[in-house]
Symmetry: C2
Subunit: 506 residues, 2 copies
């Protein structure tokens, strides 16, 4: 007896939820690996992760899923492509078609390799020893190329990987977005560099006791709306946010007792991710309507709280007295304006996650530039340090002193995240466009921030973005929320308006 | 084409290993629940745990496992019942026959319930609110009775649960071991109580800063042989040791800044469990030859390091100067002998995990006495507090002031561990018998401890117990290692020899 569309929908939802639930066990394994796992546990963890990854792949590619999708595609009414059912079918089909192209062996091998390579990366970065990491990078690149070939549907090979992180995005589209950005960004950075008015960064390099940093960052994350009853904040070699599931979202950061901004803005950043995850519709957990749109949109949330809010003068009108109380030795005699200028210093530097809002994007463009030939095969993993350093010198006018300050600084390649980096600059662009719209719709945001009121913005983000899940692809979501397609304009406007007064630019 | 015994063995091993690997993911979920999980994550965690528990049950009860066991049972040579193959078949059969009697629905329901009930127990204990926990206890007892009935093979219903924790053990056999123990223990405790020479416990109730306690306990656990490269120590509401897998064994404890023994001996105790897990044969992971014999034998290891080693005068000849350096405010003017007498004070008290070596066993006998009617149905969960308090008053001469100091103190029932408690006193008895043998075979153990040498004892335990996995059932292992069946004699000898001089008993 054939089943009804309603029955098929219920069955598909149950299968999708179960796969998500299983994958979420893998998320916990991964969070634990980066925060708690003792070093000798890596081999067993790799076996655990590969087991769950293989199993989740089996479930995601079960023929029954394909059958249900066939049935439902015939049943979905064409007149309502944004209904929850239509969205479920569209996104589940996308995921299914993608997953069935990835051989199970490759899924398991990648999972094992990524677990072990992350541990190897942690050690190699600590020792700044690229040679120690090279064999891992070679294996990762080889498997990711194999994966890209399996997923390839024409065009540029790299796009098959990019599409996983930013559905529908291509290298060409990125070029069209990034080229004008670079063209306007480079002269702005040069003008800032040439300004005679430079901030005093040394006030951020005083004694900031780690316990006080932890308490201050936690309080700020709570204040902007991260719910610690449903989350926590830990330390990790490379900060990240992990969504374990409804009621369990975890942030990480890393502390330096002589550098304030790293842990603080890192925490705001991850809290931005966390607020997105906490804002998803828990009732639709495991379904497209309860899932984040894309990594670029995810990053728009973290970058917005970190930079558009967290580095604003208004934000510090509320927080600066608290910072002075938390760090009296460092800040007692520092006026708020000098502090605000210091945390907004624009200066070429080696480490992406510590970069300012302007130069940050050059870090991303460099990675995007190297990843494409890495996947096409034109750049060998062994040649990455030289290529990195040459490109870095071209863009930043200086050469990394060692691999830890160069191509070994990021965890991404070790977990197979090739194609991930472009979403960071996309995130900045989305954030600028969303934030400009929020400003128009929410009245005087600066006055709200200065009073310590972040609920209006957070609620606006939850309603306009978080609660919509994957209802709209990223590009359409931006148009629906902001009334315009994504462009570099709002980001450049934001940067110019912010830095012109700080640096006395004409 | 029929397969050879060798092929069947390889296939069975692979299936057993895979099930163990999956279950070990559940172990991490459980560890995390008790150490890290934010409160709002409990519902999702219950879903995750139930999913993995149901899946592991499917794998453990796969018809193919039964077919392979049938085939191998016919092929195992009868002349060598202790060979790895024979052991694998014997233990896998035992496990398989047990698991197929447990309906999948029950396995999943129990898993969900246990996750949620543990969280409820944490809150209820904190508030000392038995009424808040009662609905959970009622559900647990109902499901455990259902489980016992499913597993029942005759005799006493409770034994069907007991058998899970201590294979082959029965209520009758426990009675035969525990009755003479009680008969000799009660007068010994009375004599100690009557002694005019009582230690000064207040010196353990001074300022012991938690950071210093953590460092001192960690150093001691490392010194006796727990490998922190392959493990860690955290805090939990109810201390436990969790074996995640080879290279990853995790201890927990809880600190009280005004009470030294709790965290310190708790850490030694859990480290004893951890040293057992770290001593298992990693090459046989997931197979009976790489698994612990029973909870009673496991407990013999923890109780040995905690009490037979950790509370000995010889141990403190090495550690006391270090303790004085770690806790100068508390111990500067305390002589070693007074400290040693204080940590060996025998005194009726409410909390099992903080009880001395002698009265501890009365705590266990009380729980054993209540658990049997709880499972038979003769004792209703609602009547537990009254029954507990009456039995406690009879045995200890005092009444718990509240549920947190009475029937709500232990986590075990909340995770369905009914039938677990007797293994603690079994552990004390096994420990005494093993330790007496180790003393005979290893020369002057006290002199070794006083020099800070714990490797000889640890190596002896690893060779005689840990590395043997499940080769021999607990009863046979004791006979093989000590030359005699388990009895209460060695434990009573140990207690008399220890406390007679401390309390000037005749």
């Amino acid at each position: 007896m054939p089943i009804t569309a309603e029955q098929a929908c219920a069955e598909l939802n149950a299968l999708l939820r179960n796969t998500a639930l299983l994958s979420s066990c893998g998320n916990l394994l991964s969070w634990d690996e980066q925060t708690c796992m003792p070093p000798a546990g890596a081999e067993h963890r790799a076996n655990q992760a590969a087991l769950l990854a293989g199993l989740a792949h089996d479930w995601a590619t079960a023929p029954r899923v394909g059958d249900l999708l066939d049935l439902l595609e015939a049943a979905v009414p064409a007149h309502d492509p944004d209904s929850p059912l239509a969205v479920t079918v569209r996104e589940a089909r996308r995921e299914y078609d993608r997953e069935i192209k990835r051989p199970r062996r490759l899924v398991e091998e990648l999972s094992r390799l990524e677990t072990l390579a992350q541990q190897a990366w942690i050690d190699a970065r600590k020792q700044s020893d690229f040679a120690a990491f090279l064999p891992w990078l070679e294996q990762i690149v080889a498997l990711k190329r194999e994966e890209a070939q399996a997923l390839f549907t024409g065009g540029v090979l790299y796009d098959a990987l990019l599409d996983h992180f930013e559905p529908g995005m291509t290298s060409d589209a990125l070029e069209r977005l990034f080229s004008p950005l670079r063209a306007e960004l480079v002269p702005l950075i040069a003008a800032i560099q040439d300004s005679p008015r430079q901030p005093d960064r040394t006030l951020l390099e005083r004694d900031y006791p780690i316990d006080a940093q932890r308490a201050f960052a936690t309080a700020a994350a709570r204040k902007i709306g991260f719910n610690f009853e449903a989350g926590r904040l830990d330390e990790a070699a490379h900060p990240f946010c992990s969504d374990i599931g409804p009621g369990d979202t975890r942030l990480t950061t890393r502390y330096n007792a002589r550098h304030f901004p790293g842990a603080f803005f890192g925490t705001l950043h991850e809290a931005g991710h966390g607020i997105y995850d906490q804002g998803l519709d828990a009732a639709a957990y495991g379904l497209p309507m309860g899932s984040a749109v894309s990594l670029g949109i995810h990053e728009s949330q973290s970058r917005m709280w970190e930079n558009f809010v967290g580095r604003s003068a208004a934000f510090w009108r509320h927080f600066y007295p608290l910072a002075q109380a938390a760090f009296p030795a460092a800040l007692k005699n520092v006026i708020a304006a000098d502090f605000h200028r210091a945390i907004n210093e624009v200066r070429p530097s080696f480490i992406r996650v510590e970069a300012d809002e302007a130069t940050y994007n050059l870090h991303i463009l460099l990675r995007f530039e190297l990843e494409r030939p890495l996947i096409s095969g034109d750049l060998k993993p062994a040649d990455v340090p030289a290529a990195w350093n040459a490109a870095f010198h071209r863009d930043f006018g200086m050469t990394p002193p060692d691999a830890a300050h160069g191509c070994l600084q990021d965890i991404h390649w070790s977990f197979g995240g090739i194609g991930y980096f472009p979403t960071y600059t996309l995130g900045n662009m989305y954030a600028a466009q969303f934030f400009a719209t929020a400003r128009q719709q929410l009245g005087d945001l600066d006055a709200q921030f200065a009073r310590g009121e972040f609920t209006p913005l957070r609620t606006w983000l939850t309603e306009n973005i978080h609660r919509r899940g994957k209802q709209f692809p990223a590009g359409r979501l931006v148009e629906i929320v902001t009334g315009a397609p994504l462009s570099h304009g709002p980001l450049m406007n934001h940067l110019r308006q912010k830095f012109a007064p700080l640096y006395d630019l004409s």
